[in-house]
Amino acid sequence: MSITREFIKGIWSENPVLRLVLGLCPALAVTTTMLNGVAMGLAATFVLVMSNIVISLLGGLIPKKVRIPCYIIVIASFVTIVDLVMHGFLYDLWKALGLFIPLIVVNCIILGRAEAFASKNKVHYALADGLGMGAGFTLALTLLGAVREIIGDGRILGYALFGPDFPPLLLAILPPGAFIFLGLFLAGMNKIEEWRTGGAAEPAEADATCCLLTDSKELRARIAAEEEKPPSAA
């Protein structure tokens, strides 16, 4: 276990959006422009890093039975802090993202990392994990936002790219476009992983294991067993 590895894994091999397929609500909803993607990513990263640190520090003190409410209180507090600070000091950005900031509370990645990683690891690993996951999330949202803005609006960061005659493909910035482009991204990511590992990597699929909020040893064992099983003929 090394700090660098905990950081890198969030960007590529365990990218929250493109590999773990978590946190799709903000990934789909706010990525109509590149700037929105960057800002949402950074706001979520801040919350993720801070909650990872606090939860890692509190790790041993929180009784198992009330850990979820405790995590949620910690996460919600940091989200409220982000909301207030942005409202006061980054007014225009706050106006653009206002609707989505409170939604960071229920972002699956943050609770998922708190449960699956921060609560079980030392604080510097939790910090690296939060930064890496946040960077991966930001990167995915930025790319998705950039592609949708270019295709759906003919602009990048608000600057027109193709002159006035460019007919934008409106669908790209409408909700269906988000699904379509995310799907293409996932497919591309899977293909690259396949090449990289010579076919050994499992394709990304919506998998709630990471977010699994259960203590059931039996269930965990079953999932582990299933993962080890060779792919059976379906």
Partner: protein, 200 residues
């Protein structure tokens, strides 16, 4: 009962600490937030009024009528040169759209500015673009309804308002806000223009 105690104690401690931190941050950001809101209002008033020399956002220079607050802009001689007011429509795609409207005393529009909206970013949010907003400026024609050209049956408005492609609902809501605001102004024009603001 006994096993509940540590659970309750932990939750209480964490909630109390969180509450304390939030109170602190709230106290620190309260001022800047109020300032940012006010600044946004001032910026909009400045942007929509023709050249003026007083401070319309001071209480002495505005007058309330109906649900609206009219900010009166006067030139150096104390002459009324323009009026700014905000008007809202609930018919936006994402909820209420609030528009700051700047008019000349003859009720023709100088400029409009979008104060608040929750429209789809990159789509409905284009109501903020000058290309769309500038269409409202100009004519003092009493009969101009500011309807988007899709909606005007028979003779289209002169000049027409072109809705934003793919965002007709947002465009329609802006024109509704403008129309309602102007209607109110026209109905109470004399009392507003007379204004208790009284010079500078």
């Amino acid at each position: 009962m006994r096993e509940l105690l540590p659970l309750v104690a932990t939750l209480t401690a964490i909630a109390a600490t969180a509450g304390l931190c939030l109170a602190l941050v709230y106290a620190l950001t309260e001022g800047p937030i109020a300032e940012a809101e006010l600044e946004q209002m001032r910026r909009a008033i400045r942007a929509v009024l023709p050249d003026f020399d007083n401070s319309p956002d001071e209480a002495a220079n505005w007058i309330e009528s109906g649900d609206y607050r009219f900010f009166l802009g006067r030139d150096a001689a104390g002459e009324l040169v323009g009026i700014a007011f905000s008007s809202a429509s609930r018919e936006g795609y994402g909820g209420t759209i609030e528009v700051m409207i700047g008019i000349f005393p003859d009720a023709s529009i100088h400029r409009i500015e979008i104060l608040r909206h929750l429209e789809t970013p990159g789509l409905g949010s284009k109501i903020e673009a000058p290309d769309f907003r500038d269409q409202f400026a100009g004519s003092s024609d009493e009969n101009r309804t500011y309807e988007v050209s899709k909606d005007s049956r028979g003779a289209p408005d002169r000049p027409p308002i072109d809705a934003i492609t793919g965002a007709t609902i947002s465009s329609r809501a802006v024109s509704e806000a403008v129309r309602n605001g102007l209607e109110h102004f026209r109905a109470h024009r004399d009392e507003i223009a007379a204004g208790n603001g009284g010079g500078r």
